[in-house]
C-alpha cells in the first residue's frame, strides 16, 4: 500500500508498504531516517519515540497505514522543531540561548555547522550519551516534557522519561542533561 504523511515538516510518500509494517520501519528503511531506533519493537524501551501530531509515541507500535495524512517529528527534525517553537514563542529572540549553543560547540566540532536544540546540546555537554542508542528517543521525550513543563522537578523528569530505557549511563547524566536544558531554557527566556 502507499502511505503519505509529513515527516519533519516535509511531505513524504512511501510505496509498496507491507500492511504489517510499523511507522518505525517505514522511517528507517524506506525514508532513510534511521535516527529512531529499533531496540525492542514492543513499546518497552522508548528508543523509537517520535511525535505523532505532537504527541510522543512509540513508532514501533504505530502501523504505517495509521499515519496517513499525519505529522511526524523524529530526532532528525528535533533541532528545527525546537527552533520553530522558540521562534513562535519568543519572536526569535533567544540570542543568549544561541550564543550558548555556539560556545558549547567549541569542544565538539564534529558536527560543525549543525544546529542543535537545547536538549540535544545538553545531552552532549552533560555526558548523557554513551552508546547513544537510547538517545534519540530520550531526546524526543525530554524535549516534549520541557515544552509542557519548563521547570520540572527531578521526580517529574523521572516520570516523563520512565518509558525510555538506557543501559549505559545509570540515568544520572541524563538527569543532569535535562536539568541543564531546563536551566538554559530558563535563562534564555
Amino acid at each position: 500500500m502507499r502511505v503519505n504523511f509529513t515527516v519533519n515538516g516535509r511531505p513524504q510518500e512511501a510505496d509498496d508498504v507491507w500492511e504489517g509494517e510499523s511507522l518505525l520501519y517505514v522511517l528507517r528503511e524506506r525514508l532513510g531516517l534511521p535516527g529512531s531506533k529499533n531496540a525492542c519493537e514492543q513499546g518497552e524501551c522508548g528508543s523509537c519515540t517520535v511525535r505523532l501530531d505532537g504527541v510522543p509515541v512509540c513508532s514501533c507500535l504505530v502501523a504505517a497505514g495509521q499515519v496517513e495524512g499525519r505529522e511526524v517529528v523524529t530526532v532528525e527534525g528535533l533541532a528545527d522543531y525546537a527552533k520553530q517553537r522558540s521562534c513562535a514563542s519568543d519572536a526569535c529572540g533567544t540570542s543568549l540561548q544561541n550564543a550558548q549553543q555556539w560556545q558549547a560547540k567549541g569542544d565538539s566540532q564534529t558536527g560543525e555547522g549543525t544546529e542543535l536544540s537545547p536538549v540535544q546540546q545538553a545531552f552532549i555537554d552533560a555526558g548523557a550519551v554513551q552508546c547513544g542508542f537510547c538517545t534519540p528517543g530520550l531526546l524526543v521525550a525530554a524535549d516534549e516534557m520541557l515544552e509542557r513543563n519548563p521547570t520540572p522537578t527531578d521526580a517529574d523528569i523521572r516520570e516523563a522519561l520512565s518509558g525510555n530505557l538506557c543501559r549505559c549511563t545509570g540515568y544520572e547524566k541524563i538527569m543532569d542533561a535535562v536539568r541543564l536544558a531546563a536551566a538554559r531554557q530558563g535563562e534564555a527566556v
Partner: protein, 296 residues
C-alpha cells in the same frame, strides 16, 4: 494482509460485518507487538484512528461515556474527579508513550487478565457499548470477560465506548509489578465505595483467568458496614473487618505461577492491596464526611 481504513464509524461497522476476522487497531499497543513478533498475521487490519468520535468523552449525569480510543493520558488529565479509580489505573499503564496511544477499548478488546483498566471498571461499575451493523447493545462489565483473553463481543461487533458510573465516593487502584514503572501487572486491585447505595465494589486483575470481582468479600463488607452503622457513624473500620475483607479478596483469586510471579504471591498481594485500598478509601470517605458535617 489487508489494511482497512474506514473514515467513519458506519464504514467501520460495515467493514467488520464484511470481514469478521478483521483485527481492529487503534493505539496499536497490543496488536503491533503481536505483528512485530510474528505472533499474529491477521487477514485484515482495521485502523480506527480516523474515527475521531472514538477519542471523545462526555460527562453525563450518572456516568461518563468514554470513547474506546480516548488515550489513558487524557483520562488521567481530565477525568480524575469523575473516574478516580480509572484515572489512577491509567497512570499505571506502561509508559507515557503508551498512555498517549492506548485506550480502554484496547484493554477490553484484548481482555487480558493483566489489562490495567479492568479492575477499575469492575469496581466503578460500567457497561461496554458495542455495535455491529445489526445494532447497538450494552454489555455489563461483569458479563464482558468470558475467558482468558476472551470477551463477549460477537465477531462482527466493535467496541465504541464504555459507560462508567461517575464516582459517588472514594475509589482506589493499586497494582503490583516488579519494577517502578513500565511494568505489566503481577496483580492489581481496584476498590470503589458507593456511599449512595451503601455498597462497595472490587476488581481484581491478573489473579484469575479473567478480571474478576471479589463478590463474597464485597458482600461481607457491605454487611459489616451496614451492621456497624459505619456509613453513618464514620468510624474507623475495625482491623478484623479489614482483615477478613482482605482474606476474602485473596480467596476470590484463582491465580497461576508464571514468570511474573507465583500464585501464592498474587493471592497474598491482592489481600494486602485490598486492605490498604480499603483503608485509603475509607479514610477519604470519613474525611469527606467530616468536611460535609463541618460545613453543615
Amino acid at each position: 494482509m489487508d489494511f482497512l481504513r474506514p473514515a467513519s464509524w458506519e464504514e467501520a461497522l460495515a467493514a467488520k460485518a464484511e470481514h469478521p476476522t478483521a483485527v481492529p487497531i487503534a493505539g496499536g499497543t497490543d496488536v503491533m507487538v503481536e505483528i512485530n513478533f510474528d505472533h499474529r498475521r491477521p487477514e485484515y487490519l482495521m485502523d480506527l484512528n480516523r474515527i475521531g468520535d472514538l477519542c471523545e468523552w462526555e460527562v453525563g449525569e450518572e456516568s461518563v461515556r468514554l470513547g474506546a480510543s480516548v488515550p489513558y493520558t487524557k483520562i488521567m488529565e481530565n477525568l480524575r474527579a469523575e473516574l478516580p479509580g480509572l484515572a489512577l489505573a491509567s497512570h499505571t499503564v506502561a509508559s507515557p508513550q503508551i498512555r498517549n496511544r492506548g485506550g480502554v477499548g484496547g484493554n477490553l478488546g484484548t481482555a487480558s487478565p493483566a489489562g490495567d483498566a479492568h479492575p477499575a471498571l469492575l469496581a466503578a461499575g460500567a457497561e461496554v457499548e458495542v455495535e455491529s451493523v445489526r445494532g447497538v447493545r450494552r454489555i455489563p462489565i461483569d458479563a464482558f470477560y468470558t475467558g482468558v483473553k476472551r470477551n463477549a463481543l460477537a465477531p462482527d461487533e466493535l467496541i465504541r465506548a464504555v459507560h462508567v458510573k461517575k464516582a459517588d465516593g472514594p475509589q482506589q487502584f493499586s497494582k503490583v509489578g516488579t519494577r517502578n514503572a513500565m511494568v505489566i501487572a503481577v496483580c492489581a486491585f481496584g476498590l470503589a465505595l458507593h456511599p449512595r447505595t451503601r455498597t462497595v465494589r472490587t476488581g481484581i486483575g491478573s489473579a484469575a483467568p479473567t478480571p474478576v470481582r471479589a463478590k463474597t468479600a464485597e458482600e461481607f463488607l457491605n454487611a459489616a458496614l451496614e451492621e456497624g452503622g459505619f456509613w453513618d457513624n464514620g468510624k474507623i473500620i475495625t482491623p478484623s473487618v479489614a482483615k477478613q475483607f482482605a482474606d476474602l479478596c485473596s480467596a476470590a483469586c484463582n491465580p497461576i505461577d508464571d514468570v511474573r510471579g507465583t500464585a501464592s504471591y498474587r493471592r497474598h498481594a491482592v489481600g494486602v492491596m485490598a486492605r490498604r485500598t480499603l483503608t485509603w478509601t475509607w479514610e477519604s470517605y470519613r474525611g469527606a464526611r467530616r468536611t460535609t458535617e463541618g460545613a453543615a
